[in-house]
Subunit: 332 residues, 2 copies
């Protein structure tokens, strides 16, 4: 099943089901008013949602309408928790090499993960208002999962079984603010403004063979201002989503709707390019002695779309956003 969320004045938005080809959608709010509500009552509503999805895909949904990703909010405009790993070890190793820092302690056996804000996610085409270009504005292309309830101390297998949906993410980052927040040991806060999501959240079966070993086996194609920036592949995650979700649940239960991210998709092969500016800048430092790629300026755009192995478009739709200056009175 494919789900999206339209604005209706409520914080959780209005749930719609999206057709397999993403051309059509139909209402589902008589089954569950929002995607968060559906996740909270999944065992009760999943069959009815599947029946509605089947009707839509066989031309039998009475109220089908043209699906317009431009109108979408994030599939979950707010979620109980947003926990983002850094599971692509190539990315971490590049950062360590460039900055000559010691290896992440236990970096290949214990995931690293930070807790982000989950109350104010950005839709796939929403402008990104930020206070200053001097903060080092960067994007981070990621995959993520949305879980049902996960008990405290769940095993990775139990955690993986709790995955309900797969999502595609742009974890906006402010690189000038990150190093200080890492040095404090308290982790990222100001360095992580609102995170954005592709319009369509999908059940894992929609990915077919591309959902394998707790990883999304797809390319993440990233374009900056219409130019190719990279298309790293999801298979090189050092930890699968089962391990990441279990890490998050070690000393807390996760409630339905929590989102766990992969961290920046990154591949060892330089030809794959990168899914964030910081990684390309690090490669430039290593290869050329200095970073030459600038961070984002106001007015610039980034587009991200997942592709199957054969190059066909993935099921998430695309993220396509512009960075804009925080206007007076904006952001309240």
């Amino acid at each position: 099943m494919k789900f999206a969320t339209l604005a209706n004045g409520h914080l959780d938005g209005r749930l719609v089901i999206v057709s397999y080809d993403q051309h059509l959608a139909c209402d589902a709010h008589d089954i569950a008013p929002s995607l968060l509500d559906a996740l909270q009552r999944w065992d009760t509503v999943a069959l009815a949602l599947q029946a509605r999805s089947d009707a839509l895909n066989t031309g039998q949904a009475a109220d089908a309408f043209v699906f317009d990703p431009q109108q979408c909010l994030a599939p979950l405009p707010r979620s109980p928790q947003w926990l983002d790993g850094s599971a692509f070890l190539n990315h971490m190793q590049l950062m360590e090499r460039a900055f000559n820092t010691p290896p992440m302690p236990k970096g290949d056996t214990v995931p690293v993960m930070y807790q982000g804000a989950s109350d104010d996610f950005l839709g796939p085409h929403a402008d990104v208002p930020l206070p200053s270009e001097a903060d080092g504005i960067d994007f981070e292309g990621e995959f993520g999962v949305v879980v049902g309830p996960v008990p405290m101390a769940a095993t990775p297998a139990e955690a993986l079984a709790a995955v309900r949906l797969v999502v595609q993410i742009n974890d906006w980052s402010l690189r000038a603010l990150g190093p200080h927040e890492m040095q404090t040991g308290f982790g990222f806060l100001q360095a992580k403004p609102s995170t954005a999501f592709a319009p369509v959240a999908v059940t894992p079966d929609e990915l077919g063979a591309a959902w394998h070993n707790g990883r999304v086996h797809m390319h993440l194609k990233v374009e900056r201002n219409g130019e190719r920036f990279g298309e790293p592949h999801g298979r090189e995650m050092g930890f699968g989503f089962g391990e990441l979700v279990a890490h998050a649940a070690r000393t807390r239960r996760l409630t339905a709707g929590c989102i766990v991210g992969s961290g920046t998709v990154s591949n060892a092969a330089r030809s794959a390019g990168s899914a964030c500016l910081a990684e390309r800048r690090v490669i430039e430092m290593i290869d050329q002695g200095a970073a030459s790629t600038p961070f984002m300026r106001f007015g610039e755009r980034v587009r991200m779309q997942a592709l199957f192995e054969d190059g066909s478009a993935g099921p998430f739709g695309s993220i396509d956003q512009q960075v804009v200056p925080l206007a007076a009175g904006r952001g309240g």
Copy 2:
């Protein structure tokens, strides 16, 4: 005004107004179903809530009932964000001295703050299920504020003006897991299980002169298993709540209901005692060469209550919790 939340099967619980003497309560869910809803529509509902509160305190509330803190959930069982500072610089300096670590970078000019989970807060008398005593189970007595909407890049004065409620907090911590998470730079995650709250959230005017300079000028009395542990005073915050909230809002807007904490209340005078085990253990290391106070074992209790300068009971009620082992099947 004083607010509390009772269970009603919904994630946000049912709002009640508590009398000045905390003996009585009355329903307010016809005005706002939950405290979170009231905060989201504060300008619309505040006058009606005040009128209901006045009626309760003058014996004119038709449906008044005996207030039982044992039945209370956290005032906000879930909130949009939970952002916890470490604003008592004495606490931080003690930690640095004991572990011979360099001073927190910019520690006296820039607040440190981590983002915690905000979807599953514990009520004031709820058991605290945790997976292992070996994790170094500790409490942290704190004050906190609940804000209305705060625009991105708000000034400290604007941030302070957005404070709607003051709360009392026990930020449960797992000390054996903290150092690794600080070393990664990604911050606390497993080291911070669900946070607990005293039953009553109050508007700042309820504190009278004890709400001053963006700080809670009250003692926080902490007892472990019925024995005095400390009663440090809130006045020694190195940053006021205006500065803390503005720090949190530097690159993000805060939505109504976000909670910002002070960090462990701590005083320079050793006679004040401590509000967490880690700080007492650090003092023992400094003064006696080794820590002798053990972390919490299953079955132990901690009680926390704020007191006015004259020793009279504060308006928050008390937190009184027992740590229990995570049972098979529990936590889901």
